[in-house]
Symmetry: D2
Subunit: 357 residues, 4 copies
Amino acid sequence: MSGVWGNKIKLSIFGESHGKAIGITINGLQPGIELDLDYINKEMERRAPGNSELTTPRKEKDSVDILSGFFNGKTTGSPLCAVIHNTNTQSKDYSRTKDLMRPSHGDLTGYIKYGGFNDYRGGGHFSGRITAPLVFAGAICKQILESKGIVIGSHIKRISTIEDESFNMVDLKEEELKELTKDAFPVLNKSVEAGMKEAIVKAKDEQDSVGGVIETAVLNLPIGLGEPFFDSVESTLAHLLFSVPAIKAVEFGAGFEIAKLRGSEANDEYYMDGDKIKTSSNNNGGILGGITNGMPLVFKVAVKPTASIGKAQNTIDIEKREVSKIEIVGRHDPCIVPRALPVIEAVTAIAIFELMQ
Amino acid sequence: MSGVWGNKIKLSIFGESHGKAIGITINGLQPGIELDLDYINKEMERRAPGNSELTTPRKEKDSVDILSGFFNGKTTGSPLCAVIHNTNTQSKDYSRTKDLMRPSHGDLTGYIKYGGFNDYRGGGHFSGRITAPLVFAGAICKQILESKGIVIGSHIKRISTIEDESFNMVDLKEEELKELTKDAFPVLNKSVEAGMKEAIVKAKDEQDSVGGVIETAVLNLPIGLGEPFFDSVESTLAHLLFSVPAIKAVEFGAGFEIAKLRGSEANDEYYMDGDKIKTSSNNNGGILGGITNGMPLVFKVAVKPTASIGKAQNTIDIEKREVSKIEIVGRHDPCIVPRALPVIEAVTAIAIFELMQ
Amino acid sequence: MSGVWGNKIKLSIFGESHGKAIGITINGLQPGIELDLDYINKEMERRAPGNSELTTPRKEKDSVDILSGFFNGKTTGSPLCAVIHNTNTQSKDYSRTKDLMRPSHGDLTGYIKYGGFNDYRGGGHFSGRITAPLVFAGAICKQILESKGIVIGSHIKRISTIEDESFNMVDLKEEELKELTKDAFPVLNKSVEAGMKEAIVKAKDEQDSVGGVIETAVLNLPIGLGEPFFDSVESTLAHLLFSVPAIKAVEFGAGFEIAKLRGSEANDEYYMDGDKIKTSSNNNGGILGGITNGMPLVFKVAVKPTASIGKAQNTIDIEKREVSKIEIVGRHDPCIVPRALPVIEAVTAIAIFELMQ
Amino acid sequence: MSGVWGNKIKLSIFGESHGKAIGITINGLQPGIELDLDYINKEMERRAPGNSELTTPRKEKDSVDILSGFFNGKTTGSPLCAVIHNTNTQSKDYSRTKDLMRPSHGDLTGYIKYGGFNDYRGGGHFSGRITAPLVFAGAICKQILESKGIVIGSHIKRISTIEDESFNMVDLKEEELKELTKDAFPVLNKSVEAGMKEAIVKAKDEQDSVGGVIETAVLNLPIGLGEPFFDSVESTLAHLLFSVPAIKAVEFGAGFEIAKLRGSEANDEYYMDGDKIKTSSNNNGGILGGITNGMPLVFKVAVKPTASIGKAQNTIDIEKREVSKIEIVGRHDPCIVPRALPVIEAVTAIAIFELMQ
């Protein structure tokens, strides 16, 4: 069923892109946690649209209204519900093309699943906008994790075919990760940044879009998070990562490449670093037997190119059941990778937080 | 928490590799379903060890004893519990190396998570053997799905660096899929089979191991399975797939490759095939907005090389906390890809069955 | 954990009595259900305060704002979130007595459970006011059930020691039940009404309060709802009924009285009424083996006297940890039975709706 | 759905009275807990049949076989599955009356719910025998609770119309409770015991049965267990209590009687007993706002008279859909109260254990 996730914490999400509001209720937060609202707002801004020429001009403030579970600056231990009111909604943009199912979107599947009763405006409950409440929940989890020394950071590993370097999975520095979170377009090798941005602008100019890959790392996790069956770290993370619209692939550690190695190459050998147990390689991305092993947790996700493009495409009119052309004229990102990145970090924080309860 | 999965059906798994028995309880099966026990046994045999020179010589019958929920050849609607007794366990193999944490295994993470109280023999609850009950549950789901016309099939897409062709995601034939399930080493392009097997035997001879990639497809799914948040088809499948030991990556449709395409290339355009809505490409692997769109559901998983190898490796002695050498002498598969394949199909069947409730 | 209930439908509740808003998110509603908002408002009014001399003068409009999951007058199938803004909150009433733990309230247990971080104003998340969102959710379930012919009705079985008659559990008329729902103070035997009201007013005049018993019936249920372990009809209903503040006892059918009978008296014998299977008595209250048997489902709940009274009581000051006197001066109902009645019906509707999915 | 219960611990139950085996899998037990198997067996014996003239002569050893999650005398942290093989099953007793729906049993509701595919022998999955695995799980929880100083005890409050005294809810002694658990027929006032037993034997001699009431108390609970919505202590306990066959009513503290009191009488006033906060009465049975308040937790349950009686009753033949007479000739308890008592304690232990996670 849609809408609720988690076992020890439970998230309940709601909202449609052009409805009254979107929001989330978080259950299971400890009482007495002081929330840094500036921190939360900064995370919200990282995801918010309209910040540069690389994103949609739809400018949305995304200011969060906490309705419950928060009193005198601290969590109460009761369910914390936060809503974001939808203000800048140009619903007319969408009603004209209501019956034209946008390729690569949830339009058709939503229409059939919900018998045509779904709120189609702006993608409705399928909109990437629904990730804003996840960023809010993630910002809370992230700051709690940080207070325990756990750091999450990401970079843009690829835009279209332009590749950044990969994280050094064995010896990843905390400072490096933290630095990345301040950057609206974080890459490890600065020399690839211009080319990546160019690819995005070029796609935009051609009424087209590009996708990419995000690589995320989590440092200073305790050994022992996760379960063998069925809530491995990979399962828990992947469940949330694949809930983020446009994510089509997830790989941990060396991922698909590990399958090319011999066991003797792939196996991460142990050694003692003082009184700490470490591995000399990290092809398993910090997870063994579904459980964290204390090494950096590292994974990559593939973000498909924005489905909404201005270029003419073949589609069908769902009412008439006949083929039609569609040229999408709304305000859309030519590449959602930079804005998806804080969402990936948010759901990572949520998943880790759940596993730590 | 470990052990229970599902919302509308609920699986409860248990067992350790060298304990008395392993098993599973399936909740939520409709009453009156006639179970084909031969079908189930055939699936169990596909996963069972000792069938060829490519697998471990540990010969285990894996015969299933159904304890409840099954009466007069049919499901009763009550919880169906099945156990597989562990018979051929050579526990002495393991006790000698109890304190030596096998690299790339769950030994260390399990030891620390469970404070050393876990059953270490043969990997205990982390053993690949625990997938046998999943194959049992999958065999039930699979035959119910087949009675509705839904077909699941897989092939070995890669062993080490030797690649098979990929499924034709747009025009995949039911017969082709069914044919694959009869083959113990299914590939699309028969010319790669010998090379793949050779790579496995060579690794075995060198006390080493290889990994690979499995590609799985599901045909004839109705449109509308899955949910936008948080139980997308990708989330539901990935949750179970990443519970299977050794799986480190999952990609749907074009997966990581879709991120290299422009939106105009990646988007799957619609057309009418008679009264059926189809897409002319299938880069999304049959899933849009987290929901099935009626096209073939296609995904790939990466299987890491068997962690247990005879070659000497560096590890630590967990009691002494010092470095040691380990040469694993138990009976292990040089490549678990062929035996992992029916497990992948089984959890696919389980996930689809859950989504169809 | 607090906040989420249900398996096939899932409710997520939130809010504090004097916070910004209270509300609920309902997951699992079918798309395309036309909601009768007048019907919902009427149910909200049944629970709302300030309607007569028998209730608190706190006048609260309780108007519901549906934020999501509702489009063009119909459910969309996505999570439906509704909030009720808190408007008439006199927080000053409460701050003065913040450290005085009101006897028979959740003040002390909440304070200790949440380490003093709970929102203490007006009972916070423990307030009876939090049942308003349950009435909203119940009103939706109730109208869906009614469209299937299922009718829920209740009467005040007892106020203090003044007893009404009991439902005729064998031959209960649909019209009679429906009639009861129109009455703000429903009793079967009209002659007891005046005495009951007098008892309430007398208690009020003496700065005291009274409790009572509510009897509820559900007609036209199909045979087969509920499960043997662990989600019997009794379990599912009792779980929600005991979530309603002030409920301390629940009995089904003849309840505690059935335990006084011999088996030969207690057993409900079967007979055929045309092609319908019926029982000639209904001591089991329409539930056998945890499952509905098609007879009227009947149960009673005990509502304790309002804990907040004006009369002086001994209590402790939680900060000073010393004994103190308390005279509660807020606006409180001398008897919550009439307002609890629609809440009991609401959670009954929710429980039945869950069991019917 | 049937079969799984719990949030932080999860129980998965299975089995039919005359199938191969019944059992339970417990998820969420901490690793390293030493289990006292004698303690467990003693609890199993308390519930086992055939111990006196008051129970069924069906003699069943109920020896438990732990299949997993238990290694070297301690829990491993993995799912712990235990089975009890059905040995003394006289299935022929039942097949003769297969189509005759026993009044007050789950025969009819089970038949219709499961479309006639349920295992009808001896009540199948509806049998009281299925509570044996609950007693096993409860025995584990109980000994863990005891190691934390928490004590559970019960007495027979009523058989038929013969009443025992009630617990002193304010000043209940630990030793008194412990003493009760050693008694196969525990009452507070020894003078009522003979009359109670006589009532049972008389009912048996007349091919009839009697019911009764059990009162249970839990001492030394910490303040703060339970949640306001929806997992109050009352909700959590009642959910499991109403899963036990034959339980038709549950009341906490003064229960239905509290509704007869004025607020000024019912409210439990606070005082300081040294540095402990206590209440001078305990009408709320140790639970306020759904949360334990540190006072003795006390509740009563009503057990209906055994449904299976030798006396002739009217019933229907479900195949022929016509009225018939039934005289049940199997081996049945004339009163299940004494054997239900350890089951009530077991599910109490399970519920408390869940709330303490």
